[in-house]
């Protein structure tokens, strides 16, 4: 019996510790450098001050993405003072820098909009849809991925998923619903 225990106990310890590590290990996202519509560059890893960074893949033409314009601005206004940074990325091949700039000006976006030429960041992040959100910490660990909320009709929203995730992050708690999905427009990639 003692001989069996000598084998079984280390094996059990190995499997339990592996399971705990697997549960706690977060998926990491790649670093990137992109320029905004004014030609100013932004590097994810250069940001050392924010408690979390919200990366929003958006589109100038997608009606679903556009239905969230005001909500994205409101999120920025509410959470920037709390130490959360918001960055928008336009990866759509059909939407050039001029259109991105006009769209941002028209909707008075308070956050920076970066142009992802050749959809390299969208590919690295496997972003498929607009709007699609990635929330990462300083270690570039993915804390939340998915939608802003559960309805493109603002008056029918029942689940404010991104706000819930940000509140949990600020409270130092794990994000309970860390992965969500919603219908939206596909990101038009280079052919």
């Amino acid at each position: 019996m003692k001989e069996i225990n000598k084998i079984l106990v280390p094996l059990m310890i190995f499997f339990v510790s592996t399971a705990v590590l697997a549960r706690d290990s977060k998926k990491k996202v790649d670093d990137f450098t992109l320029t905004d519509y004014n030609g100013k560059s932004y590097t994810l890893s250069a940001d050392k001050a924010s408690k979390a960074i919200v990366i929003m893949f958006i589109s100038a033409r997608c009606p679903v993405s556009n239905s969230y314009n005001d909500r994205m601005s409101a999120l920025y206004e509410d959470y920037l003072p709390k130490g959360i940074l918001f960055i928008a990325i336009n990866s759509n091949n059909q939407e050039d820098i001029k259109e991105v700039k006009e769209h941002a000006k028209e909707h008075k976006f308070p956050f920076r909009v970066l142009k992802d030429r050749g959809n390299k960041v969208a590919d690295a992040y496997d972003a498929q849809v607009t709007p699609e959100i990635y929330v990462v910490n300083q270690k570039h660990e993915l804390l939340y991925h998915g939608r802003i909320d559960n309805s493109r009709r603002e008056d029918e929203v029942e689940s404010k998923d991104l706000r819930n995730a940000l509140d949990e992050i600020l409270a130092g708690k794990p994000v309970i619903v860390a992965e969500t999905k919603a219908f939206g427009c596909s990101i038009k990639r280079v052919e």
Partner: protein
């Protein structure tokens, strides 16, 4: 008229009358066909609600056929651009072992205001549904766990009901046909 001629004359008259009627009926059918082509005459399109049990029933109903389900929305431009190829596809595979189905991810309350007018404008010739799920991901995950909800997205099932293709974004008639034929030959 001699009595022995009355019967053949009556028969000829009857045949002539019957032919005239048949020609008239034929003209009516032609008129109907051209009316369907005329965009000013609106064909009747039906859009049913699709929930989780409806999705399972749909899969059951089409087992034994290669089933292509296209998800689309009236707010999605690439979906609208892709739609004529689906209509063409449905025409090609009419009465065959391949079925084409459309599922709109618009809201159910947009059936009359947006979905049916679009389907009519396309002369949609295959069954169409509108999603009726409380949470979008309930439908998204039913189709494919790897799908994030971007439309258009097309899913092709083999004759056993197993998903064999997940096509994200806009595709052409030839691309759809190629996928269908590969799955069809393997089934």
């Amino acid at each position: 008229m001699p009595a022995n001629l009355r019967l053949p004359v009556l028969a000829l008259f009857f045949i002539f009358f019957a032919c005239s009627q048949e020609t008239g009926e034929g003209d009516k059918t032609l008129a109907d066909s051209s009316a369907l082509v005329d965009k000013s005459v609106v064909p009747k399109v039906r859009v049913d609600l699709l929930d989780a049990s409806g999705f399972k029933a749909l899969k059951r109903k089409y087992q034994g056929k290669v089933l292509l389900i296209n998800t689309w929305a009236t707010w999605c431009l690439p979906c609208k651009e892709e739609f004529p190829d689906l209509v063409r596809l449905a025409r090609k595979y009419e009465n065959s072992d391949v079925a084409i189905i459309g599922v709109s991810v618009d809201y159910p309350d947009e059936v009359n205001s947006k979905i049916i007018p679009f389907l009519n404008s396309q002369q949609a010739n295959f069954p169409n549904f509108v999603q009726d799920f409380k949470q979008p991901e309930d439908l998204i995950n039913l189709f494919n766990e790897k799908w994030r909800g971007a439309v258009p997205a097309t899913f092709i099932y083999d004759k056993k009901g197993i998903q064999r293709a997940f096509l994200l974004g806009k595709h052409t008639f030839e691309e759809f046909k190629s996928e269908i034929e590969t799955i069809r030959s393997d089934s």
